[in-house]
Symmetry: C2
Subunit: 163 residues, 2 copies
């Protein structure tokens, strides 16, 4: 876990990947949704409406987490934890349309009256390669070296997993 | 939201898609991770270890949520909310290896001493098409009909979004 975005995984935010956003419901249980997002190097922004459950979740618990995976390699992904810093109206749906274009869509805005821009300030990043964080990968490689030194022929460097 | 798995989205659990699993940390904030899972039509099962933060999260708050997206169409996805029903040892790593095979991997188990099987009982399902739930899609189509009846030439049936 790092407090800044690891350069190795910055492309996952620069590209129009899809965020799986976790919010906490008023009863304390988690909820997940697949979401568009914008990233300007500092803030993550989501388009949303005031009429849905997630909006109430944001108001109740501003801490969120979202993960983005590399479409070409799902074992390479990034978790971003952060805090909803602001929820502002998007009265003309301009942000919604701009975000749509990032994902190759020309959107018609029919719910501009309830559209909002949700801005998230990241607080930490967890970068995962081969299904493991950097710390896990180091520990795993140490295990492999130990096993190999002990003559275990099944020890391999294939650390890919998602468990 | 439904209490049973919608047939339209069952394939997303039958196929080896990747689950973005949300858990709640002891401080109440959410955490997300990309995970393998098994689905037998009733239970979702994850492989995990007792040494990581998620394990402590499960113990503190057994309610979880995970989402799986169609790799061919990220606007089609499924959220599953549920409860961790049991956490059992996987002493020989047999479940871990079986799960690896589902994802096309032959795994070497080097951490069998801490491997566990996390079984989740689903409590509700949210199926999304075109970035909208069934209820949202109905409301959206009604809006389009109203706009079209009012002669708005920008009204279209393109309801694809993820906001």
């Amino acid at each position: 876990m790092t407090s800044t975005l690891p350069a190795t995984h910055a492309d996952l935010l620069d590209k129009p990947t899809f965020a799986h956003l976790a919010t906490v419901r008023p009863d304390g249980s988690p909820q997940t949704s697949v979401m568009w997002f914008a990233w300007d190097g500092k803030w993550a922004r989501f388009t949303h409406t005031t009429t849905r459950q997630k909006f109430r979740n944001f108001e109740h618990e501003p801490r969120v987490s979202f993960s983005v995976a590399d479409p070409a390699n799902p074992y390479r992904f990034l978790e971003i934890r952060g805090v909803v810093e602001s929820i502002e109206p998007d009265p003309d749906g301009e942000f919604y349309r701009t975000l749509g274009r990032r994902y190759g869509m020309e959107m018609t805005v029919l719910d501009a009256d309830v559209r909002v821009i949700v801005t998230v300030r990241p607080t930490s990043f967890v970068a995962v390669d081969s299904g493991m964080t950097a710390a896990e990968l180091l520990a795993y490689k140490a295990t492999i070296r130990t096993a190999a030194a002990a003559g275990d022929p099944s020890a391999s460097s294939d650390g890919v997993s998602a468990g």
